[in-house]
């Protein structure tokens, strides 16, 4: 099979696995897909999310690995009121593209993430930008940016789940 196709399938496999872990709230396992120096970003709606810099612009989420872990710890607690009881989450991930760039695999994908909880049912629509690196023979995520293709977080109010 052509090398590019294999790469894409490998990346798709990883993204499908990530979606499954997030949908089933296996968040500790979700963390194992990431490198120890990973970052997870959600830029706001009024900047170019593909190029925005978290060091100079306000974001919705700008987690380093430490804060990703803390986010997971928090979401496991009853005191994380926004996600207690837990919402129903479904990640649809599609249109995956992947290309090798030296030691990094850069990937893009489109997403719709559905979150339903009592009176609310919201859809987050956008695209993912991934940086993936090889660690111990497997691909790990070193950076995930969730660019929302939306005008504002309305009526959503919150990104209390992991996109």
């Amino acid at each position: 099979m052509n090398e590019n196709l294999i790469l894409r399938l490998t990346v798709e496999d990883l993204l499908i696995r990530e979606a499954h872990l997030l949908d089933s709230w296996q968040l500790a396992e979700w963390l194992t897909l990431y490198t120890n120096d990973a970052h997870y970003y959600v830029p706001p709606n009024d900047v170019d999310g593909d190029t925005a810099d978290p060091d100079t612009s306000l974001f919705y989420v700008m987690d380093d690995r430490k804060r990703m872990e803390e986010r997971v710890v928090r979401l496991g607690k009853v005191g994380a009121h926004s996600e207690h009881p837990r919402s129903k989450v479904r990640h649809l991930v599609t249109n995956v593209q992947a290309a090798r760039e030296n030691d990094i695999v850069r990937a893009r994908a489109s997403f719709i993430v559905s979150r339903a909880k009592d009176i609310t049912h919201d859809l987050f629509v956008g695209h993912y930008l991934y940086d993936l690196v090889e660690r111990d023979g497997a691909l790990k995520i070193s950076k995930k940016t969730c660019v929302l293709d939306m005008e504002a977080l309305r009526p959503h109010a919150r990104i209390s789940i992991i996109l």
């Binding site: 959600v42 830029p43 706001p44 709606n45 009024d46 900047v47 925005a52 978290p54 060091d55 100079t56 612009s57 306000l58 974001f59 919705y60 989420v61 700008m62 430490k66 804060r67 803390e70 986010r71 710890v73 928090r74 607690k77 005191g79 994380a80 009121h81 926004s82 996600e83 009176i119 609310t120 005008e151 504002a152 977080l153 309305r154 009526p155 959503h156 109010a157 919150r158 990104i159 209390s160």
Partner: protein
């Protein structure tokens, strides 16, 4: 109107009718008596950096074009064409000397005057200068420092009078910098399925932190070195006209200018330097207060300025009794170092906003209050009496701030009745 507050301080009683959060007639009256008469926050001068800069945003449901003309003068125009009403400027921000309406092509200067119109031969000669054919200026626009406010009413008190003691607190925010404060770019734009006054209350509610934000407080304790030894303590201050603030010390670091161990020795040198300059510029006392105290302020009716581990400027307005829209910005000194700016933004997002470790739970509380009000029946009132029984100054986790807000709300709505 039967949605009146019940205030009997000598009985330790302060009750707010739940109808105030749910009733369509109350909502209409709020627009007539509050949003159409009070000074409302529009934007910060740094958002319009040069002559020709413009931005569009809604203020209390109305589309506004906020811009600077070629001389640098600031204007606030109703963003609707005098011809047949189409929104003239459809971009969120940019730079332009003129604005062309997409419908029939009338074109307006940055001060709103009609410059050209296609098919002018079909109109009388002096048509173009007819005052009714120009874009309409918002009745009043004024500023305190770089904070711009507008007023949809032609008369009433001026901005400085309106702000009362809150004016000095806005100045204190500007004084973080010797060369000016600026919006850092990137707006948090969200909505909440709840009444707008729930967010006004929540923004200055010191009482809810321990319960609503238990996971955030636990996280802070875990985050190694993120906290100093300073205890969380302070008081509430009534700033008059419905404005109020809680001013308190807290264990977290402040970019201007309160160091915590997490920032290391190098960070200490930088923070010490900033503090030294503050002292020179503002004197011991004010510098100490600016650097070491946190402030959560509500300016009636819908501006919140929180000067905590970062500075957030947040405004919101309702589109229905059970729905509000929020815009929140981050404000920082222009001269801030890259390192400190990074830290500021990192900290802002940790606590604040839709993806933070705290705001989502505030949203949950607000939405659950709104849902709770549906019980109706005999459960008619909210209790806002905490601290009334206290001797001496109100504590930061009392409810004095909310009583100040509600008293003004009640005054404005009931004045319309008489």
């Amino acid at each position: 109107m039967d949605a009146r507050i019940i205030s009997e301080p000598s009985q330790n009683k302060f009750l707010v009718p739940r109808k105030a959060f749910t009733d369509q007639a109350v909502f209409e009256r709020e627009y007539a008596e509050i949003f159409n008469k009070c000074w409302l926050y529009l934007g910060h001068a740094s958002e319009l950096p040069e002559p020709g800069s413009f931005l569009t945003r809604k203020v209390a449901r109305r589309p506004i074009l906020f811009n600077r003309d070629r001389h640098g003068e600031f204007h606030a125009l109703f963003n609707a064409c005098p011809h047949r009403g189409a929104m003239v400027c459809r971009e969120r921000h940019g730079k332009s000397p003129a604005f062309m309406c997409m419908y029939h092509g009338w074109t307006f200067g940055s001060d709103g005057h009609l410059m050209t119109l296609p098919g002018a031969a079909g109109y009388p000669k002096d048509f173009k200068t007819d005052p009714q054919k120009q874009m309409v200026h918002v009745p009043r626009l004024d500023r305190i420092g770089d904070f711009f406010f507008l007023n949809f009413s032609h008369d009433g008190e001026d901005l400085a009078t309106y702000l009362a003691d809150a004016g000095d607190y806005l100045n204190l925010v500007s004084e973080h910098s010797e060369s000016g404060m600026a919006v850092t770019g990137g707006t948090q734009e969200y909505a909440i399925r709840g009444n707008w006054k729930l967010l006004a209350e929540n923004s200055v509610d010191g009482y809810h932190a321990a319960c609503t934000h238990s996971t955030y407080l636990e996280y802070l304790k875990n985050a190694n070195g993120a906290l100093g030894a300073t205890p969380l303590e302070g008081g509430g201050i009534d700033l008059n006209n419905g404005h109020a603030v809680i001013e308190y010390s807290a264990p977290w670091g402040r970019p201007v200018a309160s160091w915590v161990p997490l920032w290391g020795e190098e960070g200490k040198t930088e923070i010490d330097g900033i503090y030294g300059k503050l002292q020179k510029r503002l004197g011991e006392k004010r510098a100490d207060r600016l650097a070491h105290k946190n402030r959560n302020m509500i300016i009636f009716p819908n501006l919140v300025v929180n000067d905590i581990m970062a500075i957030t400027v947040r405004t919101f307005f309702p589109t229905a009794p059970d729905y509000l829209e929020v815009n929140a910005w981050s404000l920082a000194p222009v001269e801030e170092s890259d390192w400190l700016r990074k830290y500021r933004l990192f900290n802002f997002t940790e606590f604040l906003g839709p993806g933070g470790f705290a705001t989502p739970d505030d949203v949950e509380a607000i939405e659950k209050c709104q849902q709770g009000y549906a019980v109706g029946g005999d459960a008619k009132y909210n209790d806002i009496s905490k601290g009334l029984a206290r001797e001496g100054e109100p504590s930061f986790d009392d409810e004095m701030q909310m009583r100040a807000f509600w008293t003004e709300w009640d005054r404005r709505l009931s004045a319309a009745e008489d």
